[in-house]
C-alpha cells in the first residue's frame, strides 16, 4: 500500500544521519576536546557528494509524486553540497573562536543543506514547504548563533521576523494554489492549470509565491533584510545564506513555475521581468556607496539575483541550464569572497573596505581571490561569471527579450565601478597596518579552489554547462 521507494532518499537520509550524528557527538565529547568538527563535517559532506553521482539517471518519483529523484535535483544537490563543503572548510577558524555552539554550528549547516536538498527533490508543495522551513529555521539559529553580540542579535531578530513573514506569505500562496487547482503535486498542478479556466485566486497565489521566494532570493523590493543580515550574521553563515538559500529558492521557483505552471507564463512573466530589472538596477546602484565589504556583497548579491532571474524569464531549457551554471559559479565565487571576509575579520576584527587597503601586500592570496571573485561577478572575461552571463543572456535573447539582456549589460558595466574600488584599495592603497595575515590550511584550500574553479570554468565552461543542460532537459521544458 505504501508506495515509497526509500532508495531514492539515500542522499537525504545520509545527510540527516550526518547532522544528527554531529549533534550527538557534540554532547558526548567533553567541551575542551570539541575540535575538528568542521573537518569531520566536510569529510562527511564530501562522502555524500561522491554518493550523489550514483543518483544520476534515476529520473523517477515516489510516493505519488511527492518526492522526485531526477538529474535536475541531483545537479542542485551537488551545488548545495559543494557550497556547504566550502563553507564548513572556511568556517573552522571562526567556529574555533566561538564560545558556544561549536558542534551545533556544523550540525545546523548540515540540516540547512538537507532542507535545500528536500526542496530540490520536492514534487509536492507540502514537501517543498517542509524543506523550506527546515532550511530557514536552521538559518534562524545560525544567524543568531553569537547571540551575545548585539549586532548579531539584531541581524538574527530581523531575519527571524522578516523570514517569518515571508514563510507565511509562501504558505498563503501555496494554499491559494491548492485551493484553485485541488492538488499539491506539481505535475498534477501543471495538468489542471493547462485544462482549467484561470481563477483570479490562482494568480494571487502566484504573486504570493513570487513575493515569498523573492524574499529568500533577495529580489528588489523584498531584499531589504539582506544587507543588514549579511553584515550582522557570522560571515560563514552569511556566505551559506547568500549561496545555498538563494540557490534553493531558485530551484523552488523553477519547479513551481517552469515545471508546474508553464501555461500561465503570460501571467507571471511580466512580474518576473519587472523584478529582475529592478533587482539588477537597484542592486548595482546601491552597491556603489557601500563601505562595508559584506554589505557591498549583499547588494551585489541582489543584482546577481536579478541576472539569475533573466534565466527564469527565458523559461526554456537553456535558461534553466544558465541558472544552474550561474548559481554554481556564483556559489563558488561568493563563498570565496566571504571566506576572505571571514579571514580578514578573524585577523583584524573589521569588514570595512577602507581597512582592506594594501591587502595585496599583507596576503596576496586573499587579495587575489577576492579580486577574481569580484571580477567574475562583474562578468569580466575570461572568468566564469562571463560565461555564466553569456548563457543567461543568450537564453533570454533567444526568447526575444533583447532589452532585458541589454539592461543587464549596462548595469554590469556599472558594477565594475564598485568592484574596482575594492580592487583599488587592496592593490593600490597603502596598508593601514602592514602585518601579514596568515591563513589556516583549510582556508587556503577554500580560496585556492574558488580561484581555480572560477578561472577554469571561465576558460573552459563546457563540462559544467553540459551537466547543467542535461539537468535542465530532464524537466522537459
Amino acid at each position: 500500500m505504501l508506495d515509497f521507494n526509500f532508495s531514492y532518499l539515500t542522499i537525504e537520509i545520509l545527510t540527516a544521519i550526518l547532522g544528527i550524528g554531529l549533534l550527538i557527538l557534540g554532547l558526548l565529547v567533553p567541551k575542551e576536546h570539541r575540535k575538528g568538527f568542521g573537518y569531520l563535517t566536510s569529510a562527511g559532506l564530501i562522502g555524500i557528494l561522491v554518493g550523489t553521482f550514483y543518483m544520476f539517471g534515476i529520473n523517477e518519483s515516489t510516493n505519488k509524486g511527492m518526492f522526485i529523484a531526477d538529474d535536475f535535483s541531483v545537479f542542485f544537490k551537488q551545488l548545495f553540497l559543494v557550497a556547504a563543503i566550502l563553507v564548513t572548510l572556511a568556517a573552522n577558524d571562526y567556529v574555533e573562536k566561538l564560545e558556544e555552539g561549536k558542534s551545533e554550528f556544523f550540525a545546523l549547516i548540515v540540516f540547512a543543506t538537507l532542507g535545500m536538498m528536500v526542496i530540490a527533490s520536492a514534487g509536492d508543495l507540502i514537501t517543498m514547504f517542509v524543506g523550506i522551513e527546515l532550511m530557514t529555521i536552521s538559518f534562524y539559529c545560525l544567524v543568531g548563533l553569537k547571540k551575545r553580540d548585539s549586532k548579531v542579535a539584531e541581524a538574527g531578530i530581523k531575519y527571524l521576523l522578516l523570514g517569518g513573514v515571508s514563510s507565511a506569505v509562501i504558505l498563503y500562496g501555496l494554499t491559494l494554489v491548492y485551493g484553485t487547482t485541488g492538488t499539491t503535486v506539481i505535475t498534477e498542478i501543471a495538468n489542471r492549470v493547462a485544462q482549467g479556466s484561470l481563477a483570479p485566486a490562482l494568480l494571487l497565489g502566484i504573486i504570493f509565491l513570487i513575493a515569498g521566494f523573492g524574499f529568500k532570493i533577495s529580489l528588489v523590493p523584498f531584499h531589504m533584510w539582506s544587507p543588514d543580515v549579511y553584515e550582522g550574521a557570522p560571515t560563514p553563515v552569511t556566505s551559506f545564506l547568500a549561496t545555498g538559500s538563494k540557490a534553493a529558492a531558485f530551484v523552488a521557483f523553477i519547479r513551481i513555475f517552469l515545471d508546474g505552471m508553464p501555461s500561465l507564463q503570460d501571467n507571471w512573466l511580466a512580474l518576473f521581468i519587472g523584478l529582475a530589472m529592478l533587482s539588477i538596477i537597484i542592486g548595482n546602484l546601491v552597491a556603489i556607496p557601500q563601505t562595508n565589504l559584506k554589505r557591498m556583497l549583499a547588494f551585489s548579491g541582489v543584482a546577481q539575483a536579478g541576472y539569475l532571474m533573466t534565466g527564469m524569464v527565458a523559461g526554456n531549457a537553456a535558461g534553466v541550464a544558465g541558472i544552474g551554471f550561474y548559481l554554481f559559479i556564483y556559489a563558488v565565487g561568493t563563498v570565496g569572497a566571504f571566506a576572505v571576509a571571514t579571514a580578514f575579520y578573524n585577523a583584524t576584527g573589521t569588514d570595512d573596505i577602507k581597512d582592506m587597503s594594501g591587502l595585496a601586500q599583507r596576503n596576496p592570496l586573499m587579495a587575489a581571490s577576492l579580486l577574481v571573485a569580484m571580477l567574475s561577478m562583474a562578468g569580466i572575461p575570461p572568468l566564469a561569471g562571463f560565461a555564466g552571463k553569456l548563457f543567461l543572456f543568450a537564453a533570454v535573447v533567444e526568447k526575444g527579450y533583447l532589452w532585458v539582456a541589454l539592461v543587464g549589460l549596462v548595469m554590469s558595466m556599472m558594477s565594475v565601478y564598485y568592484y574596482l574600488n575594492v580592487a583599488k584599495a587592496m592593490y593600490m592603497n597603502d596598508p593601514v597596518d602592514d602585518t601579514p595575515i596568515t591563513l589556516s590550511g583549510s582556508m587556503k584550500l577554500v580560496l585556492l579552489s574558488s580561484v581555480v574553479v572560477t578561472l577554469i570554468l571561465g576558460v573552459w565552461p563546457t563540462p559544467l554547462s553540459d551537466l547543467a543542460l542535461a539537468a535542465a532537459q530532464v524537466l522537459g521544458l
Binding site: P200, L203, M224, A405, L420, M428
Partner: protein, 778 residues
C-alpha cells in the same frame, strides 16, 4: 600551432614570478624577450601564404552549445596587426630591459605585459566576436594594471581607473552590439557575418548595432569625446606607453572598425559617424596637443589625433582611403613608437619631460636628437619620411570623398578636406615644438634634475630600428606597399588592391594641401606665443575631463542618497516597503483580472449583535492606529482577536474559538511580559507622516487580503472534500462529530505523529529549563 602563439604569452606569464624570485640577478626582461621574438618570426612565416591570397583558419571548440568556438583566422589585416604586436613587442621588451631598474617590481610588469600581448593577439586573430570580446576586455585589464604599475602615485591610480572605466564601458556596449549582430544574423563568426552583410544592412536593428559597436571601438581608440583617458594613461612606464598606448592597444578600435567594414560599412550612417568622429578627433587632439608642456602629454594627444586621422579614412572607406588608412597605421606605429622611446630616454637621462625646462639637448644626446628629428618630421608629414606619403594619400582620399553620400549631413563632404588641412597644421606645429623645444635652443642645465648624456646603447637599439623603418619606408615605399599594405587593404575592401605609392603626382590638390600645411604651420609656429593665447579663451567648465570627474564623483553621492533614503536599518520601514510593494502588485492583479467580486447569494442573514461585534473590531483597530503607548496598542490588538473568537462561537465553531482564544491570550501576555522585561523604550513622538504611512500601508494590506479572501471564496472550481467527510464520518468512522472523526480516524496517523512531535518538543523545552535552573543553582 597558431593557437599556441596566442596562449604562449599567458603560459609564460605564469613562469615569470618564479624567474624573478629565483634568478633576481638577471633582469627579467631578458628571459621574456625570446617569447615575442619567437612568435613574431613564426607569424612572419605566414606572409608568403598571404601573398598567395590564402587564408589560414584553425578552430578549437570552446562553447559549442552557443556556437562560440575559439577560431583563429589569419588574413592580410589580422597578420598586419599580429606582426605589429609581436615585432614592436620585441623591441619594447628589449627597451624595457634597459629602461626599468632591477629594483622595480619586474615580475608584475612582465606578467602584465605578456598578458597584454597574448590578449592583443587574441583580439586580432579571433574570428569569433565573443572570443574577440573576451580578449578585448583582457587588454583593458592589463592596460589598467600597467598604468597603475607605480601604484603609490596618485595620478597613476587615477589614470588606471579612468582608462578601465571608460574602455570597459565601451566594451560592454560593444558586447551588446555583438549580441545584436547575433540576433540579426544568428552567428558570432566574422566570416559568416560578412556573408550575411546584406541581411544586417537591411535590418531595423542596424543603426543600434552600429552605434554600440562603434562605442566600443571609439572608447578603445580614444576617439573624441572618449579620448580623455589616454593622456592620463601616460602615467604608465614609458615602454608601456610606447607599446599599448600608441602602437597596439589603442589601434584595436581601428582594427575592429576595419574588420567589420565589410559587414557594416557603406551607409551614410557609417560615413557620418566614423569619419565625423574621426575628423573631430584629429582636429581637437592636435589642437590641444599644442598647449601641452609635458613631452608624453604632447605625444598622447598626438596619438589621439593620429588615430582620428586613420578613423576618418576608415569611415570614408573607398579603396584609396582604406589603403591610406592601413599605410598610415603602419607608419604611425613606427614613428610614434620611436618618439615615445626617445621621450622615455629624455625622461630617463634628464629627469624631466617638461619642455619648458628642456632645450638644446641635441648637443648632449646626438643620436636621440636624430631619432627625434626623424620621428617628428615624419609625423608632420614632411618628405622624405614615411609620414609624408601616407599623409599625402590621406589628403587625396578626403579630397575625393566629396562625392560620397553623407545623408542629411551633405555639407560634410566639402568640409572634410578643410578640416583635414586644419588638423594637419596643428600636427605640424606640435611636431616642430616637440623637436625644437627639446633638442634645439639654449640648454637650461640648471633647471634639470640630472645632467643629461646619451642613453646606453642597448636602450637606443629599439628606437633606432623604428626610426630606420620610418626612413626606409619613406624612401622605398614599395617595400611594404605590395607585401603588407595591399593584403591588409584587400581584407577590408574584399577586392584585390594594386597599391602603388609614389612621391610625385604632379600639381594635384593633395600637394597643394601639403604646401598649405607647411606654410601656415611655419607661420603659426613662428608666432606661437600669440597663438597660445587662443587657449585661454576656451571655457574650462566645458572640459570633458570635468564631465568624467563629475560623473565619477556624483555617482557614489547619488547612490549614497538612494541608499540612505530606503536602507534605514529599521524593521518597520522594511516591512512597510515590502508590504506596500505586495499590496500594489496584488491590487493591480485583482483589478486587471477582475478578481474583485462579491457573491451575495447563499449568505446567512446577519444578526444585529454581529454588527455590534464588527463595530467593536473596527473601533479596536482605530485605537491601535492612534494609541499613544505600545501597551494600549497591544491590548487593542488583543481585543480584535477575542472578538473574532466570539464570532467563531456564534458560527458554532467552539473548537476554533477555543484555539483562537488561547493563541490570543498567550500572545498578548507574551507581549506584555516582553515589554515588562525590556528597558523603557524612548518615548519619542512618532512623526505624523510616519504614522500616516503606517496607517496607509496596513490599511492597504488589510483590504487587499480581505479582497483575496473574497476572491478565494468565490472560486469554487470543484467539490470540496468537506462533502466526503460529512457523508462518511458516521458511515465509516462511526462518530457524529466530524472534526473528531477526522482527527482520530481519517487522519489518525497524522495526529499521532503530531502528538509525538509535540511531546518531543515539550521534552526539549523541559530539558532546556532544567539545564538553565541547574546552571543557576551552581
Amino acid at each position: 600551432m597558431l593557437h599556441l602563439s596566442v596562449i604562449a604569452p599567458f603560459l609564460f606569464a605564469i613562469l615569470v614570478p618564479f624567474l624573478r624570485r629565483y634568478l633576481p640577478q638577471t633582469h627579467t626582461g631578458w628571459f621574456v624577450l625570446p617569447i615575442p621574438l619567437t612568435i613574431a618570426i613564426y607569424l612572419s612565416s605566414f606572409l608568403p601564404q598571404i601573398w598567395q591570397d590564402e587564408k589560414i583558419i584553425r578552430t578549437i571548440e570552446w562553447i559549442p552549445s552557443l556556437g562560440i568556438n575559439f577560431t583563429l583566422f589569419v588574413d592580410g589585416l589580422s597578420l598586419l596587426f599580429a606582426l605589429l604586436i609581436t615585432w614592436i613587442g620585441t623591441l619594447v621588451v628589449l627597451y624595457s630591459a634597459y629602461y626599468l631598474d632591477k629594483k622595480e617590481a619586474l615580475g608584475n610588469f612582465y606578467v602584465y605585459l605578456l598578458m597584454f600581448m597574448g590578449a592583443m593577439l587574441g583580439v586580432v586573430l579571433s574570428d569569433n566576436l565573443v572570443v574577440l570580446y573576451v580578449f578585448w576586455e583582457l587588454t583593458s585589464l592589463s592596460s589598467f594594471l600597467l598604468i597603475g604599475f607605480w601604484y603609490y602615485r596618485e595620478r597613476s591610480v587615477y589614470g588606471a581607473q579612468k582608462s578601465m572605466l571608460i574602455t570597459m564601458a565601451g566594451g560592454f556596449a560593444m558586447l551588446a552590439g555583438i549580441v545584436l549582430l547575433y540576433v540579426i544574423a544568428g552567428t558570432f563568426s566574422i566570416r559568416e557575418l560578412i556573408e550575411k552583410a546584406d541581411v544586417i544592412m537591411a535590418s531595423e536593428l542596424y543603426l543600434p548595432t552600429l552605434i554600440l559597436i562603434l562605442l566600443g571601438a571609439f572608447t578603445k581608440s580614444a576617439q573624441f569625446p572618449f579620448h580623455v583617458w589616454l593622456p592620463d594613461a601616460m602615467e604608465a612606464p614609458t615602454p608601456v606607453s610606447a607599446y599599448l598606448h600608441s602602437a597596439t592597444m589603442v589601434k584595436a578600435g581601428l582594427y575592429l572598425v576595419a574588420r567589420l567594414t565589410p559587414v557594416l560599412a557603406g551607409t551614410p550612417d557609417w560615413l557620418i559617424m566614423v569619419s565625423g568622429v574621426g575628423i573631430i578627433t584629429l582636429v581637437w587632439g592636435a589642437f590641444i596637443a599644442i598647449r601641452q608642456t609635458d613631452l608624453k602629454a604632447i605625444l598622447a594627444f598626438s596619438t589621439v589625433s593620429q588615430l582620428g586621422l586613420i578613423m576618418t579614412l576608415l569611415g570614408i572607406g573607398t579603396d584609396l582611403a582604406v589603403t591610406a588608412a592601413v599605410f598610415h597605421l603602419f607608419n604611425h606605429s613606427a614613428f610614434k613608437g620611436c618618439l615615445f622611446m626617445v621621450a622615455g630616454i629624455v625622461d630617463h637621462e634628464a629627469g624631466t619631460r617638461d619642455i619648458r625646462k628642456l632645450g638644446g639637448l641635441a648637443a648632449l644626446m646626438p643620436i636621440s636628437a636624430t631619432l627625434a628629428f626623424i620621428g617628428t618630421f615624419a609625423m608632420a608629414g614632411i618628405p622624405p619620411f614615411n609620414g609624408f606619403l601616407s599623409k599625402e594619400m590621406f589628403f587625396d582620399a578626403t579630397w575625393k570623398a566629396g562625392g560620397l553620400d553623407y545623408g542629411f549631413l551633405s555639407w560634410l563632404g566639402p568640409v572634410l578636406p578643410a578640416l583635414a588641412v586644419l588638423g594637419s597644421i596643428f600636427t605640424f606645429i606640435y611636431s616642430m615644438m616637440l623637436f625644437f623645444k627639446t633638442f634645439k635652443g639654449s640648454t637650461k642645465l640648471d633647471q634639470l634634475p640630472k645632467k643629461p648624456h646619451e642613453a646606453p646603447k642597448g636602450m637606443l637599439i629599439s628606437p633606432i630600428v623604428l626610426g630606420a623603418i620610418a626612413v626606409l619606408v619613406g624612401l622605398f615605399p614599395s617595400l611594404v606597399a605590395g607585401t603588407i599594405v595591399a593584403p591588409a587593404a584587400e581584407a577590408v575592401t574584399l577586392v584585390p588592391q594594386e597599391v602603388k605609392i609614389s612621391y610625385w603626382h604632379g600639381f594635384t590638390p593633395p600637394l597643394l594641401m601639403t604646401l598649405t600645411v607647411v606654410g601656415l604651420g611655419t607661420l603659426i609656429y613662428w608666432k606661437l606665443a600669440g597663438w597660445l593665447k587662443v587657449y585661454a579663451a576656451l571655457p574650462e567648465t566645458l572640459s570633458i575631463n570635468r564631465f568624467y570627474d563629475g560623473i565619477t564623483n556624483y555617482l557614489p553621492v547619488a547612490s549614497g542618497k538612494i541608499t540612505g533614503w530606503y536602507m534605514t536599518g529599521s524593521l518597520r520601514d522594511y516591512l512597510a516597503y515590502i508590504l506596500a510593494a505586495m499590496s500594489l502588485i496584488l491590487g493591480f492583479t485583482l483589478l486587471s483580472q477582475g478578481g474583485i467580486a462579491f457573491d451575495y447569494t447563499n449568505l446567512a442573514p446577519i444578526a444585529p449583535y454581529e454588527y455590534l461585534l464588527v463595530a467593536i473590531i473596527v473601533l479596536a483597530v482605530f485605537t491601535i492606529f492612534f494609541a499613544q503607548s505600545r501597551l494600549v496598542a497591544i491590548i487593542a490588538l488583543g481585543i480584535v482577536g477575542f472578538v473574532v473568537s466570539l464570532l467563531f462561537i456564534i458560527f458554532r465553531a467552539p473548537d476554533l474559538a477555543l484555539t483562537q482564544m488561547i493563541v490570543e491570550t498567550v500572545s498578548v501576555s507574551l507581549f506584555l511580559l516582553a515589554f515588562y522585561h525590556l528597558p523603557e523604550l524612548k518615548k519619542e513622538e512618532v512623526k505624523p507622516r510616519t504614522k500616516f504611512i503606517n496607517i496607509l500601508v496596513s490599511g492597504a494590506i488589510g483590504i487587499i487580503f480581505a479582497l483575496v479572501a473574497f476572491s478565494a471564496h468565490n472560486t469554487k472550481l470543484f467539490e470540496t472534500i468537506a462533502g466526503y467527510y460529512l457523508e462518511n464520518s458516521y458511515k465509516l468512522g462511526g462518530g457524529k462529530n466530524v472534526v473528531n472523526v477526522i482527527l482520530v480516524d481519517f487522519r489518525g496517523l497524522d495526529t499521532m505523529f503530531e502528538i509525538t512531535v509535540l511531546a518531543i518538543a515539550a521534552l526539549g523545552i523541559y530539558g532546556l529549563i532544567k539545564l538553565r535552573l541547574t546552571k543557576k543553582g551552581e
